[in-house]
């Protein structure tokens, strides 16, 4: 079920009413669990079975992991969880990719191998909920936490509908305790949750789908060499689109959870105001970057085993992070570029970071713009359907050969330029601020006006219920 659909509005009203009805806490949690399964089944009912498999396996594995003292047996148990979760992910998401690459390898060896047709539908959000359930087993294995005592709570943790299909990827230590005691939103939480939902849907429907997607789709769908202005505008448009789409989902999810009385963690903090790439990853898809840090980078040794290992661990983490996004080498290159950026930044900071000049405003703005520029380069690989398109775009953007075609009409140029400028200004302004604090300083009439206008724009945009981009991951 999409947040930006009429079905969700009806579903949400019903869930909210049931959650505020005079029912026992167990009944309310059961309602939420059933609602979550319905939310997921609304796409493709059979795929609920995958959720059940993950739930049952990780529930039993974690229980046994907690009581088992023999390390070798604990490793086997953990392997069961990892193999099942990554197995499901691998089969549905990477099966076709592996087959294609195997075919290429075979042909390089002179063997004409024809792989079977791999037309398997990717279950929505599988990358998100498999990581979330794996975190549970890993936490118990690493003795960071105890397993849940309630199967209902655990099943709800795996399935909790606001963040089920596109995050934030919530840690068991964050969500499970909230299911322990009755939680119903206060009036202030309800209003703020509705406000966050409005902002999230505005980001998705108006900014991502309405203002930016047309330019991005036109540019990345072009097969000819483009004019560098168009190539840059298409990339900037995608840069804004992917942020508004994904942050829009996270903000809506946080808002929905809050209206039910639950707190979900931030997933974005104005990432295009980042100064450097470590800062960027503290602001972009925070729940994934911290997951990769805690369950991959640190177990690999993090920065504790010397410089070479640190750089290698960074690259490994970012390459796998890239692959997590999609079964394509273009995503691996996207992750690899971020790995190179992070490694280069680490190397430079160690040598030049002590200079006072970096604290001056001009230097910080320039560094932020450089970060934004380099991030835009990575988005080309993320968005391009293949390397041919990506190289053509990069070549055009960096060489400024002006013989290419101008495909964007004036209105799309204006939409992209104005939206990008406003977005960057907001990110910079909000860089070290919190939205709730800003709202506190604004007059009531202005906040109400902005809220009312955003609602109106959402309605009159009449979005076509376009899926969120991150659903495919």
């Amino acid at each position: 079920m999409l947040f930006n659909s009429l079905t969700f509005i009806a579903f949400f009203i019903l869930v909210l009413a049931l959650h505020n009805a005079p029912l026992s806490w167990t009944t309310k949690k059961t309602n939420l669990l059933i609602a979550s399964y319905l939310f997921y089944a609304a796409w493709n009912p059979p795929f609920v079975i995958l959720l059940w498999i993950s739930t049952v396996i990780d529930w039993h594995v974690a229980k046994k992991l907690f009581t088992e003292q023999v390390q070798s047996k604990r490793k086997v148990l953990l392997a069961v969880s990892v193999v099942v979760n990554l197995g499901l992910l691998g089969y549905f998401k990477y099966g076709g990719f592996l087959m294609e690459n195997f075919q290429v390898l075979m042909s390089m060896a002179g063997i004409d191998y024809q792989p079977p047709d791999w037309s398997i539908v990717l279950p929505v959000g599988i990358s998100f909920y498999t990581f979330q359930t794996m975190a549970y087993s890993l936490d118990v294995y690493l003795r960071r936490a105890e397993p849940s005592k309630s199967f209902l709570d655990f099943a709800l943790f795996v399935t909790f509908f606001p963040q089920l299909v596109a995050g934030p990827i919530v840690r068991p230590t964050h969500l499970l305790p909230q299911f322990a005691t009755p939680r119903v939103a206060t009036r202030q939480q309800l209003y703020w949750g509705l406000g966050l939902m409005t902002i999230g849907l505005f980001q998705k429907i108006v900014v991502a789908d309405g203002l930016l997607a047309p330019a991005s789709d036109a540019v990345f769908g072009a097969t000819n060499m483009l004019h560098p202005v168009d190539a840059w505008l298409g990339t900037l448009a995608f840069s804004g689109q992917i942020f508004s789409d994904f942050a829009g989902y996270s903000t809506t999810a946080i808002g929905v959870a809050l209206t039910l009385g639950f707190g979900l963690p931030d997933n974005f903090r104005y990432p295009y105001a980042a100064i450097g790439f470590s800062d960027f990853w503290r602001r972009w898809h925070i729940s994934l970057s911290t997951w990769l840090r805690d369950y991959l980078y640190i177990p690999l040794g993090g920065n504790r085993k010397g410089n070479i290992r640190t750089y290698a661990n960074l690259m490994t983490t970012m390459l796998l992070g890239g692959l997590w996004h999609g079964a394509s080498w273009t995503f691996v290159v996207w992750g690899g570029l971020h790995g190179v950026y992070l490694a280069a930044e680490r190397w430079l900071v160690a040598r030049l970071g002590h200079h006072d000049v970096w604290n001056k405003l001009v230097a910080r703005v320039l560094l932020a713009l450089l970060t934004y520029f380099l991030i835009n380069i990575t988005w080309v690989f993320f968005r391009a359907p293949d390397f041919t398109t990506a190289w053509r775009m990069i070549t055009t953007m960096l060489t400024f050969v002006t013989s290419g075609e101008k495909i964007l009409p004036t209105v799309l140029v204006l939409q992209t330029v104005i939206t990008t400028a406003v977005m960057l200004a907001i990110h910079w302004w909000m860089r070290n601020r919190r939205l709730d604090e800003v709202i506190d300083r604004m007059p009531v009439w202005l906040t109400g006006l902005l809220w009312g206008v955003m609602l109106m724009l959402i309605i009159i945009t009449q979005g076509g219920s376009d899926a969120f981009i991150y659903f495919q991951f």
Binding site: T7, K149, L414
Partner: protein, 367 residues
């Protein structure tokens, strides 16, 4: 070991999970936002009512799917209308029902080749009725599908899409702004923006709202198209946009067009054969066209190389408006579709031509 994974709240500080909230109470802000939104939306709705927009259902993917499912749900013996916008707007279900005693199922899709729908029906044993297929040459012989998503949706509709359609329909006839032509960015994009230097401006413009739709997809040309000269001229300009004469097309285009045409005819032959084998009558109909289309359609798809070949190869009944006096002389304000009252007259005439010709066609085949 921390016990925070546990659902027991014994040793956990629950306040750490609470999200920061504005300190100021939001009640008044919510009231202001609500009043502003309702006021703006009321103004927006009134604007479109003043513009003359009548009550209509949205011509959505879900609405088409509901009609298509009727065949699966016991109405497969009915006459099914498919084709492009000419069959859609020109064939009035009320008139057809009055003449035949049976209301057809309307599956035509504007800007879209009917071949995939036809193929679907050919493979669907639930369909046992009669099939009318509109042939708009530029679409039929190219296989172009402007509404591809509609055809894709049938058989793949998710529960949430189905429910969304059910929720939307009760509101549609009461909200005039709730129509794709009046979506914010649709309006923004059709403004008269200065043309960017060097931009390839020879593009096909988005079609404006042309018709109003009932729940069973009976479509009727909006009177504004006929009555308002500016609106009518805008519609005509849209039909002409992006047009490049055949002479100015390169060889690659011409080769592709010829190959595409042969492919589409073969698809039609295969589907018709399957339908005929099940005893289903297939009637191809070529609706009237004027102005720009009277010039461009024969240029790209000469009758002898397209329509005549189609009818000969399929062995189906073909009704071409130029062959029947009863189907001529109707008013097509924007060269392609008839006004409502003209469509009423045309439907009646078409129905009787079909009955007469079908009987003759069957007699000829049995001899």
């Amino acid at each position: 070991m921390p016990s925070s994974t546990s659902s027991s709240s014994e040793s956990v500080d629950m306040s750490k999970f609470d999200r920061p909230l504005p300190k100021r109470q939001l009640r008044n802000t919510v009231i202001v936002a609500f009043v502003i939104c309702v006021t703006l939306m009321t103004g927006w709705e009134l604007y479109w009512r003043d513009f003359g927009v009548p009550a209509s259902y949205r011509n959505s993917e879900g609405l088409w799917t509901i009609q298509r499912r009727r065949i699966d749900n016991g109405e497969g013996d009915k006459t099914v209308l498919t084709g492009s916008s000419r069959v859609f707007f020109n064939t009035q279900l009320d008139v057809w029902e009055a003449e035949s005693g049976q209301r057809p199922i309307q599956l035509a899709l504007e800007g879209t080749s009917p071949l995939r729908i036809m193929e679907g029906l050919a493979d669907d044993d639930d369909f046992t009725g009669t099939l009318l297929v509109g042939v708009a040459p530029m679409l039929f012989f190219s296989g172009f599908e402007y509404r591809q998503a509609v055809v894709d949706r049938y058989g793949k509709e998710t529960p949430t899409q189905w429910l969304g359609q059910q929720i939307s329909m009760p509101f549609e006839p009461y909200l005039r702004f709730y129509f794709p032509d009046y979506a914010l960015f649709q309006i923004l994009h059709r403004q008269d923006w200065p043309v960017r230097e060097g931009w390839n401006s020879n593009i096909v413009l988005d079609v404006r709202k042309l018709a109003n739709y009932r729940k069973d997809r009976n479509a009727r040309l909006w009177s504004k198209v006929a009555d308002n000269e500016d609106y009518r001229n805008e519609a005509r300009m849209i039909w002409e946009s992006g047009f490049v004469p055949m002479d100015e097309r390169d060889d690659a285009f011409k080769t592709m067009a010829l190959e595409g045409r042969a492919t589409q005819i073969e698809r039609a032959v295969t589907a018709t054969k399957k339908l005929h084998e099940r005893g289903i009558d297939v009637i191809f109909v070529r609706n009237p066209a004027e102005g720009h289309y009277a010039m461009s359609e024969p240029m790209f798809n000469p009758r002898a190389e397209t329509w005549d070949v189609l009818i000969e190869k399929t062995g189906a009944l073909g009704i071409h408006w130029l062959d029947h006096e009863e189907l001529q002389g109707f008013y097509l304000p924007e060269w392609s579709h008839m006004t409502g009252s003209e469509a009423d007259r045309y439907t009646k005439a078409l129905y009787h031509v079909i009955q007469r010709e079908l009987a003759a066609h069957k007699n000829m085949q049995s001899e």
